[in-house]
C-alpha cells in the first residue's frame, strides 16, 4: 500500500517534469536568435546582477531574440569553461559572457568559433582573437577618480587605497590607472601599501576592512579614500563612528550617489562617483545582434586586444553645481540602491530603464 502511494507520487512528479520540459523546450527560432549568457561570479553583487538584468532587457527590447539562456553562478575559470561548453551544446547563435580570466576560457571560445558561434566578452577582455570585447575603460576609470581625489587634496596627503577582486582583469587595469595618477602626484602617500587592500567587491568584506581601519586609529591619519566601487559601506562606517568625512571616490552606485547628494544626512561629505556602467550586459547583447546581422562595428585602435569596443567613463562630484546636476540626472526610480545607475549605453542598448529594473527576458 505504502509502496503504491510512493509510486503514485513519484509518477506524478515525473509527469509534471516531462510536461514542463515539453512546454519549455520547443522554442525553436524562425530566423530569430538564441543567445547564451554566462556570468561566472558575483552572484548577489549589484553590478553583476544589473548586468544580467540589462542583458535580459536588451534581449526583450530588441525583438530579435527568441531565447536568452542565462548561466549566472559563482564558479572558477574551469566552471565557466564548462558553462560555455554547455551553451555551445545548447546550439546558441552567440555567447555573451563576463570572463573569469583573460586566457583560461580560450579553449572553449575556440570550440565556439569553430561551431560558428559569435563570442562577446563584456566587462573585461579575453585574449581569444575571434572574440569581441566590450568593456568600460578601467584604466581611465581609476585614473579619473584618483586624479580628482589627488587634486582635491592639493597634490599632497595620505590616501587609503581600497581595491576590488585580486587578480580580476578590471582590478589589475584599475591599479594601472591609479598608479598613473599617482605618478603625476609624487607627494601623495598610499596606505597600507602601494598594493592597497582588496575588498573582493564584497560589501561585507568592505565593511570589515573599514571598521578595522577606523578602530585601529589609522583613519585619523589619512586625507582621502579611493574605493574600487565599494563606497557607500565606507561612508556608512565613518558616519557610524561619528568621524569627520575625508574626500571619497567611488562608483555610480545608487546608494553612494544618494549619499553624495544628501548634504543634510551626511554633512561634510565630499566625493566623486565614476561611471562603471553595468549595462555592458545589455550592450554585449546589442553587439551580438549587430554581429549576427552582419552590421559594421567600430572598434578601438588603442585597446590591448583586437575587436574591442571601449566605453568611456565619466566623473561627477558633489563639490560643484555642474557636478551635483550631473549626479542628480543619473538617478533612476525603483533601482536597487547597491546597483550602478548608468542603465543605458547610447548606441548599444534600446531598452527603457523600467525594462532593466523589471529584469525579464524574452518569454519570462
Amino acid at each position: 500500500m505504502l509502496k503504491n502511494a510512493w509510486f503514485k507520487k513519484f509518477a506524478t512528479i515525473v509527469a509534471i517534469a516531462m510536461l514542463a520540459v515539453s512546454c519549455g523546450g520547443d522554442s525553436d527560432s524562425d530566423g530569430n536568435y538564441h543567445i547564451g549568457y554566462s556570468n561566472g561570479g558575483g552572484v548577489g553583487n549589484g553590478f553583476r546582477e544589473e548586468q544580467v538584468c540589462t542583458a535580459k532587457a536588451e534581449a526583450l527590447a530588441s525583438g530579435e531574440i527568441t531565447q536568452l539562456t542565462t548561466i549566472h553562478r559563482n564558479t572558477d575559470a574551469a566552471g565557466q569553461l564548462s558553462d560555455i561548453r554547455d551553451l555551445i551544446a545548447a546550439d546558441v547563435d552567440a555567447i555573451v559572457f563576463n570572463p573569469n580570466d583573460p586566457d583560461a576560457l580560450n579553449p572553449a571560445l575556440e570550440e565556439a568559433n569553430e561551431a560558428g558561434i559569435r563570442t562577446i566578452s563584456v566587462d573585461a577582455f579575453v585574449t581569444n582573437e575571434d572574440t569581441y570585447n566590450l568593456y568600460n575603460n578601467q584604466i581611465d576609470y581609476a585614473y579619473l577618480g584618483a586624479a580628482w581625489l589627488f587634486d582635491q587634496l592639493g597634490g599632497e596627503g595620505v590616501v587609503y587605497y581600497m581595491r576590488g577582486f585580486a587578480g580580476h582583469p578590471a582590478d589589475t587595469d584599475r591599479h594601472t590607472g591609479f598608479l598613473k595618477a599617482l605618478d603625476e602626484n609624487p607627494d601623495i602617500e598610499v596606505v597600507p601599501t602601494i598594493e592597497g587592500v582588496h575588498t573582493g567587491w564584497d560589501p561585507a568584506t568592505t565593511t570589515g576592512l573599514i571598521n578595522d581601519f577606523i578602530a585601529s586609529g589609522q583613519y585619523d591619519g589619512i586625507d582621502g579614500i579611493w574605493t574600487s566601487g565599494m563606497d557607500s559601506q565606507v561612508v556608512d562606517a565613518i558616519q557610524q563612528a561619528n568621524l569627520d568625512f575625508v574626500p571619497i571616490v567611488g562608483a555610480d552606485l545608487g546608494a553612494f550617489v544618494a549619499q553624495l547628494l544628501d548634504t543634510g544626512g551626511y554633512p561634510g561629505l565630499e566625493g566623486a562617483a565614476v561611471t562603471n556602467t553595468a549595462a555592458v550586459g545589455g550592450a554585449g547583447v546589442g553587439l551580438a545582434i549587430a554581429l549576427l546581422n552582419g552590421d559594421d562595428v567600430d572598434t578601438a585602435d588603442d585597446a590591448l586586444q583586437p575587436n574591442t569596443v571601449l566605453l568611456v567613463p565619466v566623473l561627477a562630484e558633489n563639490t560643484s553645481d555642474d557636478g551635483i546636476e550631473l549626479l542628480e540626472s543619473w538617478q533612476v526610480d525603483g533601482l536597487d540602491p547597491l546597483w550602478p545607475l548608468g542603465l543605458q549605453i547610447e548606441g548599444w542598448t534600446t531598452y527603457t530603464p523600467e525594462q532593466a529594473v523589471a529584469c525579464a527576458g524574452p518569454g519570462e
Binding site: A20, V21, G24, G25, V43, Q67, T69, T70, I71, H72, R73, N74, T75, D76, A77, A78, G79, L81, S82, D83, R85, D86, L87, I88, A89, A90, D91, D101, D103, A104, L105, N106, P107, A108, E111, A115, A166, G167, T172
Partner: protein, 333 residues
C-alpha cells in the same frame, strides 16, 4: 555497528551465485549507471543536437571534479573526511602552472611528477596531524584548508603561470573516434593504474577495515594509524591530479580554491560511499559526478534559473541520502 568489510571480489561461490552477489553488492552503482543512462536519453530528447561535442565537453568539465571525488572517497572510506581538497587542488595547480611557465615540454614531465609527490606530501601532513594530535579529521582538514589556500596565494598572488602543450592536449578533444573523449580515457587510466593494484593489496583491504571497524581492525593486527595516513596520502595524490587537470584545462593556475571540496563530498555521498566509513568504492562517486554535471547541463538546456538548479542539486542530494538510509534500514531489519 556493522562489521561488514566490502572485500574485493574474492568470494568463492557458484558462478551464478557470485554474479547475483556481485550485483547485489554493487546495486547502488548499477542504479547510478541506470540513472545516468536515463539522463542521457532525457538530454537527447530536450536537446536533439546533443552529441559527440557535448560528451567531450562533459568529460572535460567532469575531470577535475571526478578526481576530487575519488580523492574524497579514500578519506571517507577510511572513516575520515578531507575538507582541504579544494585548497590542495589550488596549491598543486598553481605550483604546476608557476613551474611550467616558459619552460620546455620535457621539463613539464618532471613538474608533473614533482606535483604528484607534493600531493602525497600534503596528504601525509594532513594524515599525520590527525593521527598524532587525535583531533577529529573534520577539524584538522578544515584548518589545513586555510593553510593550503594561503600557501597557494603565496605561490601565485593572482591567476597566472602556464601549462605545457602536451598536458593541455592530454585532456582536450577525443581519441580514436569523436565519441571517446581523451579526458575520460585519462580518468579511466589514472584511476585504474593507482586504485586497482591498491585495492587488491593488503593495504586496500586495511583501508576498508579501519573504516568499517577500527577496533576490530586493530585487534586483527592492522596498523590503524599507518593506514589512515596512507588513506590521506591517496587523497592528497588525487587532489594533486585534480589540480593538474585544472591547469591542463585552463592553461593557468588559479590560487583561489574553486567549489570542489563540497562538491566532492556531495559526489561521494551520491556515489554510495557511506559517511560512516568502510563502505563504497571509487566508481560510484565518478558516476555521481557525471550525473551532477549532466543535471546542470540539462537545466541550462531547459533554460531554468541557475539558482534553482543549485537548489535542485541540494534537494537531489538530500533525497539520495534519505533513500540511502531507508535502504540501510531495510537491509538491517
Amino acid at each position: 555497528m556493522s562489521t561488514t568489510v566490502d572485500a574485493p571480489d574474492t568470494m568463492i561461490s557458484r558462478p551464478r551465485g557470485a554474479l547475483v552477489s556481485a550485483m547485489r553488492r554493487n546495486a547502488w552503482t548499477l542504479g547510478l549507471i541506470g540513472i545516468l543512462a536515463l539522463l542521457l536519453v532525457f538530454t537527447k530528447i530536450i536537446q536533439p543536437t546533443y552529441g559527440a561535442r557535448g560528451i567531450q565537453g562533459l568529460a572535460v568539465s567532469v575531470l577535475p571534479l571526478a578526481l576530487a571525488a575519488v580523492a574524497q572517497a579514500f578519506a571517507v572510506i577510511a572513516r575520515g573526511i578531507d575538507l582541504s581538497i579544494g585548497s590542495m587542488m589550488a596549491l598543486t595547480s598553481v605550483v604546476a602552472a608557476a613551474l611550467m611557465e616558459d619552460r620546455s615540454e620535457g621539463f613539464a614531465i618532471l613538474v608533473v611528477f614533482g606535483v604528484l609527490l607534493l600531493g602525497l606530501l600534503l596528504g601525509a601532513v594532513n594524515g599525520s596531524l590527525i593521527v598524532v594530535t587525535r583531533v577529529p579529521d573534520i577539524v584538522v582538514t578544515l584548518a589545513m584548508l586555510f593553510v593550503w589556500a594561503g600557501c597557494a596565494l603565496l605561490v601565485l598572488k593572482t591567476p597566472g603561470g602556464g601549462s605545457a602543450e602536451w598536458l593541455r592536449d592530454l585532456t582536450g578533444g577525443s581519441i580514436i573516434g569523436p565519441w571517446i573523449p581523451k579526458a575520460a580515457v585519462v580518468l579511466g587510466l589514472v584511476v585504474a593504474a593507482i586504485w586497482l593494484p591498491i585495492r587488491r593489496s593488503r593495504l586496500g583491504l586495511s583501508l576498508y577495515a579501519i573504516g568499517s571497524a577500527p577496533l576490530a581492525a586493530y585487534r586483527s593486527g592492522i596498523s590503524v594509524n599507518r593506514t589512515k595516513i596512507f588513506a590521506y596520502m591517496l587523497t592528497g595524490l588525487f587532489s594533486a591530479l585534480a589540480g593538474l587537470s585544472l591547469t591542463a584545462s585552463t592553461g593557468i593556475g588559479i590560487p583561489v580554491p574553486g567549489p570542489y571540496t563540497l562538491m566532492s563530498v556531495a559526489a561521494v555521498v551520491l556515489g554510495g560511499v557511506s559517511l560512516a566509513g568502510g563502505r563504497g568504492g571509487i566508481f560510484g562517486p565518478i558516476i555521481a559526478v557525471v550525473i551532477l554535471s549532466l543535471l546542470r547541463t540539462d537545466m541550462t538546456f531547459m533554460n531554468l534559473n541557475t539558482n534553482l538548479a543549485t537548489v535542485a542539486q541540494g534537494l537531489i542530494l538530500v533525497g539520495v541520502v534519505m533513500i540511502g538510509s531507508l535502504m540501510q534500514l531495510r537491509r538491517d531489519r
